[in-house]
Symmetry: C2
Subunit: 313 residues, 2 copies
């Protein structure tokens, strides 16, 4: 069946792979698009040159629709936007910034534009900026996160009530049951991060993937709220953050502790001690490292079984 | 249709009204039970004498099954347990404490016993203690809360995988869509707090109900994590807590600031400045003050519409 999200993106299933730093280059994104979902290049960790390379690779490896996720607070954002404007990439997800800044320009370049939000107020702002859809991301999501700390279960109804454009749910979704749950809540599609971060085609380091697969409930935490809230796997680096909080250090000391390149170190280089291991709370449910195609097929199969068996009261 | 929860409690719908301090006396609990759900007396704010009074009133006002929620950390817990043992109340929900302490005794007195948990590990512990079901409560729930901060969307699949007894989902549920969502996730029933806290039959003060109904997204916060994590509506009292944190006061100063009787002051006496206004994140979705019967009927109607219209992909 088609719905507003499959129609908007011309894809088979309303399953979107989140654009994730150090995980989602052309290998993962093309595998997702080739399996009937929407694959996104995660531009956040890329130079404009590297982004261009990955976009070119997408043209070589899929004939299906695909997209790119761009954090608008990225220091070299203008260069990223120029790469995207002149690339054939049809879909752009923007996040972490003001949707009023680039939406009109991207629309003028013929792109379908989606903005990631953490509240109904931001969803309204994005809709006013002219985006075609929003991703509503709950506090259980990995990586950078909204300040409101609204959970996906509480967020989706508020966003649905606030905007009439399609809503993609994100945060805590890694199974067909969770997909059925957020579709029941009113979402038109799902964006899935953590499960694809450990997919075979993810460019994350094997040590990072293993740490995610071995993690248990309570092993992720939302921290560094004074800088930009981020959900990560507890490790040595997080112990240092906790220690800093115990000593009541200021925001500048926290910024210095975070430093630069922490997520590359953790996710891409597999330095589990010093790296920032960004992952969602749903990590505790992940048990193996399937291909992107297997992930999509498992989710769809479980989704269908679930909606066929929901009891009537 | 019946399921494991309706069968366990001999009720019509798998909708349980949470036992809430200062909200759920016999008026609310009997209205819920008389409408086909399961009403619970919230014993947490009661002396043993008052609990006995409310249990006796339940016998006068409903012929349907009902229950009582007892926080096991309550200072006079032994007196509460003795009141319950000798009362005809058929169902006991225990929370905030070790399920190994009283489960066998309550079962020996012929009660159906349910324990409230915030993690799969606690669910396993409760199952080993012999409870008949668990309530799995996510971090979006109002009032006292687990330390794990796992959201309902992430918690239910973990608890379902950990135990074979029925699982009741709690936290973030105030609509038929949310009920469909957690049933799709695998829950066998729902426990609903905030929506019933503002029901006509709730004994909460009108000023508290109005504050809840006027609240917006982001207006609740999980705080006092060093004592016992509690989700409350932001107010003057919360500003004092924030101020205390800014000054890095210790746990004893926080305990002194909390003092005694804060929730009574806020919820029962309607002192919105000095009181502790315990409510869930779902408060932002609540718009009016229906009767318990209206709440249950609205939820069931929306639930049925939802499961009839979930698209197949």
């Amino acid at each position: 069946m088609s719905n507003r999200i499959t129609s908007l993106f011309s894809i088979q299933y309303p399953i979107i792979q989140a654009g994730m730093v150090w995980c989602s280059g052309w290998k993962l994104a093309s595998a997702v698009s080739n399996s009937g979902g929407l694959g996104l290049i995660g531009a956040g960790s890329m130079t404009p040159e590297l982004l261009l390379y990955h976009l070119n690779q997408m043209e070589l490896h899929t004939t299906r629709p695909y997209g790119v996720n761009v954090p608008l607070l990225y220091s070299n954002i203008e260069a990223h936007i120029q790469v995207i404007e002149t690339s054939p990439v049809p879909i752009v997800f923007t996040s972490a910034g003001n949707p009023a800044l680039y939406t009109a320009r991207l629309k003028a370049a013929g792109k379908t534009v989606v903005h990631v939000v953490s509240s109904a107020a931001f969803a309204e702002k994005a809709a006013r900026a002219g985006v075609d859809a929003v991703v509503a991301e709950g506090v259980e999501a990995g990586g950078h996160n909204g300040k409101e700390e609204t959970t996906t279960l509480c967020l989706i109804p508020l966003v649905k009530a606030a905007v009439s454009i399609p809503v993609i749910a994100a945060g805590g979704i890694a199974s067909g049951r969770a997909m059925a749950a957020v579709i029941a809540l009113g979402a038109d599609g799902v964006q899935i991060g953590s499960a694809f971060a450990v997919a075979k085609e993810s460019s994350a380091h094997e040590r990072f993937k293993t740490a995610v697969l071995q993690s248990k409930e309570g092993d992720t935490v939302l921290t560094l709220k004074e800088l930009a809230p981020v959900r990560l796997l507890k490790n040595n680096f997080y112990d240092e953050i906790k220690n800093a909080y115990t000593q009541h250090v200021g925001i500048e000391a926290l910024r210095a502790l975070l430093g630069k390149g922490r997520s590359k170190k953790g996710i891409f280089e597999g330095n589990l001690d010093e790296g920032e291991l960004e992952i969602g709370q749903v990590a505790a449910q992940l048990k193996d490292e399937p291909t992107a195609e297997e992930i999509i097929h498992r989710i769809l199969q479980e989704y269908r079984l679930t909606i066929d068996s929901i009891p009537y009261f």
